[in-house]
């Protein structure tokens, strides 16, 4: 028996359906507490290097996900804007992709994700320039991880060397593992069967990950709600991440 692998018809239908992609995320800014568990979980899952004090203070931190916050008003009426975890939005219409001369960042047709192919990357950093969300991080050096720290490396994820661009992958290694599992059992992946490292860690469950091409999934339901919006929607990048407004 063969299981039919769902490949979204890419070019035309994709745009007409208004569908964002296959995998998506909803982040509820009302309950995100800014606790940074997602940041740590992501770093641990994806072998993201730490860069040290000087580099991190100079905009070279490698976080694939960061929590943004701003201020509104003046003391004592000051308010912090809701914490906004910012990660690769896995745009359906990604500005980073066409500008890479080496095809190192491409759109996956089967996952409808924005891929970064480390081995192809020659480090022109054009993609990062062109990312309106500024969520790509570049390996400015071979960041040192003294022994025995490398014991912790996740063998499912490539360890990147200097000169290579990287970014959030929606934990594609977990997607593939779950897909393989489901395929071997001749079924579709169930909603909530697995999730990304950030969503898994999130103590408030503010991050929900799943199929957005399935209208019944938790993430689709959240994304459809009245609080949902996309970051920099006006650019037409068709992000796969939906933020839920606070309040």
């Amino acid at each position: 028996m063969t299981t039919e692998l769902k490949i979204p018809e890419f070019s035309a239908n994709f745009a007409e359906s208004g569908q964002q992609g296959k995998w998506g995320m909803a982040i509820d800014m009302d309950i995100c507490t800014g606790c940074q568990a997602c940041v740590a979980a992501c770093a641990m899952e994806n072998n993201v290097p730490f860069v040290g004090e000087a580099d991190s203070g100079y905009g070279r931190s490698m976080h694939w996900i960061r929590t943004e916050r701003f201020w509104e008003g003046e003391f004592p009426e000051i308010k912090m804007t809701p914490y906004q975890p910012m990660l690769c939005q896995q745009c359906g219409h990604a500005p980073c992709e066409p500008v890479c001369p080496a095809f190192a960042t491409v759109h996956s047709q089967s996952e409808a994700l924005n891929l970064q192919v480390y081995n192809r990357c020659v480090g022109t950093r054009y993609c990062a320039n062109n990312c309106p969300y500024q969520v790509r991080s570049f390996n400015w050096r071979d960041f040192e991880r003294p022994e025995p720290l490398p014991n912790q490396f996740n063998p499912d994820v490539t360890v990147r060397r200097r000169g290579v661009m990287e970014k959030c992958t929606f934990c594609i290694q977990r997607i593939h593992r779950a897909e393989d599992q489901a395929k071997s059992e001749g079924r579709e992946i169930a909603d909530g069967e697995f999730t990304t490292a950030c969503a898994q860690a999130c103590p408030a469950d503010a991050i929900v990950f799943g199929r957005i091409d399935d209208p019944e999934s938790a993430v689709s339901k959240l994304a459809r709600g009245s609080r949902g919006f996309h970051m920099l929607e006006e650019l037409g990048t068709l992000p796969s991440v939906t933020y839920l407004k606070a309040g």
């Binding site: 905009g59 066409p98 500008v99 890479c100 001369p101 020659v122």
Partner: protein, 478 residues
């Protein structure tokens, strides 16, 4: 003395004056000019070698040494960061490609339009094109994170079955710059062949220079056929290289204009960049000519006030065009009202490097306009050198404002961050030193003056008297 005689005297003075003014009216026998050019190559003071040595050390340490250090340690030793992913590397790339535009402009456009003043310095300008492109190439390769894999960007069949992404402006850039580098080098070489043959004929046997010239002269004798082929080719080149030149800087501008960034996403960037390139290129030609004229023997004969005067006029014209495009871009960005663009404009002028924005306008517009309108002033080589230097600084500032400073402001205010250059400063100095070094080396080996073109021009020029007025006439020989 009768009035007729008086008038005659006056006319005599006038002719003498014209001859003094114009190289084309002041012919010397070809052999003598050849001797002068050869002598200018062979007369080298110890100061030359001191400067040459210092520059060699700078190139070795700052360019190759620092580059090796950066390759070994990663781009972290440079100042690039998020969000200024491109720093001085790309500033220098654009700057050097800009410099390279002057050579083509002078030797191709002026050749097509038969601007006779170009003749003695087309070679000097073309050399700038080639050497400037070499520096641009260095700069763009330096900025790559994994430069050892840069061949992956070339469209060559490979076992991965993967070709470059022709959606990317960087791929266009690569093709355009390669095309431009190859064609400008060929365009430098074609008119050089007769002069190399001349040098071959005047170099004693048994020296390595003889071999050098022999090989490069390709066996040129000056037969009718050879001249015909050469002239045909040069005419094709002169026409065809102009769109290539325009395309190169336009594509460079698309690296920015095609991006979804505030301040970059502008439709006028193409011509704006081309004019900017000419602006800095003209300034650089003026600088080179001033140095060549004062430092190399016999060059005062070949390069005269008239040439600086003409160049100065061109510079003024280009400066005006630049100001026009700059204002055009600025006006539309300002009027657009996009909040990020607004923020960027404020940041340009009022940010920590706001002085650079004002200096750019002063150097690129105010100073050229204030000085170059005056014919006498713009005939002065050192004044033109100064103005050219300031224009180049101003144009470098312009690129610095467009690249690292504009990159600071994006749509994610949480990531805005200033850029502080690191090792790329040394690399930049290294490219400047390498450019000068190549030029100095070339001035010892390559006849900087295209003697045959000068002679051809002198043959074509004559004085003609209309009534009481003696004027210069040029006959079309081709």
């Amino acid at each position: 003395m009768t009035s007729t005689e008086k008038h005659h005297d006056h006319a005599q003075d006038h002719v003498a004056h014209l001859r003094e003014q114009h190289l084309m009216l002041d012919p010397l026998p070809r052999g003598q000019m050849n001797d002068m050019v050869m002598e200018s190559m062979h007369t080298t003071s110890w100061k030359f070698w001191v400067v040459f040595g210092i520059l060699s050390v700078i190139v070795a340490v700052f360019l190759f040494g620092a580059w090796g250090y950066m390759i070994a340690n990663g781009l972290g030793v440079a100042g690039v960061n998020r969000p200024s992913y491109w720093g001085i590397f790309l500033v220098n790339t654009v700057f050097w490609i800009g410099i390279s535009h002057a050579g083509t402009f002078i030797s191709a456009i002026l050749r097509v339009f038969k601007a006779e003043f170009r003749r003695p310095f087309t070679r000097a300008a073309e050399l700038m094109t080639t050497f400037g492109l070499v520096q641009a190439g260095f700069s763009i390769f330096m900025h790559m994170g994994r430069v050892w894999l840069s061949y992956w960007l070339m469209p060559i069949p490979n076992q991965r079955g993967l070709w470059p992404n022709f959606h990317s402006p960087l791929s266009w850039d690569l093709l355009a710059i390669t095309t431009y580098l190859l064609s400008s080098t060929m365009y430098l070489f074609l008119p050089l062949i007769p002069d190399l043959a001349m040098a071959r004929d005047r170099t004693p046997d048994g020296t390595w220079q003889k071999t050098f010239y022999r090989v490069l002269a390709l066996g040129f004798r000056g037969t009718e056929g050879e001249w015909t082929h050469l002239r045909n080719a040069m005419n094709i080149f002169a026409f065809a290289i102009i769109p290539v030149m325009f395309s190169v800087h336009t594509i460079v501008s698309w690296d920015f204009a095609a991006a979804t960034r505030p301040g970059w996403n502008s439709t006028i960037f193409g011509p704006y960049f081309v004019v900017g390139a000419l602006h800095s290129g003209m300034g650089a030609v003026a600088m080179v000519l001033a140095v060549v004229q004062s430092r190399m023997k016999h060059m005062k004969y070949f390069i005269r006030g008239e040439h600086f005067e003409a160049l100065g006029m061109l510079m003024l014209l280009v400066s005006m065009a630049w100001a026009y495009f700059f204002f055009n871009d600025y006006m539309v960005q300002w009027y657009g009202g996009d909040k990020w663009t607004q923020q960027l404009l404020h940041f340009h002028e009022g940010g920590p490097l706001g002085w650079m924005w004002f200096a750019m306008l002063v150097f690129n517009v105010v100073i050229p306009w204030a000085t170059l309108w005056n014919k006498k002033w713009r005939s002065n080589p050192w004044l033109l050198f100064g103005v050219g230097l300031l224009i180049n600084v101003g144009m470098w500032f312009e690129r610095y404002i467009i690249i690292p400073i504009s990159l600071t402001i994006n749509r994610m205010p949480f990531t805005w961050r200033m850029y502080t250059p690191g090792v790329e400063v040394f690399l930049g100095i290294g490219t400047v030193a390498f450019f000068i070094l190549l030029y100095m080396g070339a001035s010892r080996l390559i006849p900087l003056i295209p003697v045959w073109e000068v002679q051809e021009g002198q043959m074509a020029h004559s004085l003609k008297t209309y009534g009481r007025e003696t004027v210069v006439t040029v006959s079309e020989l081709e």
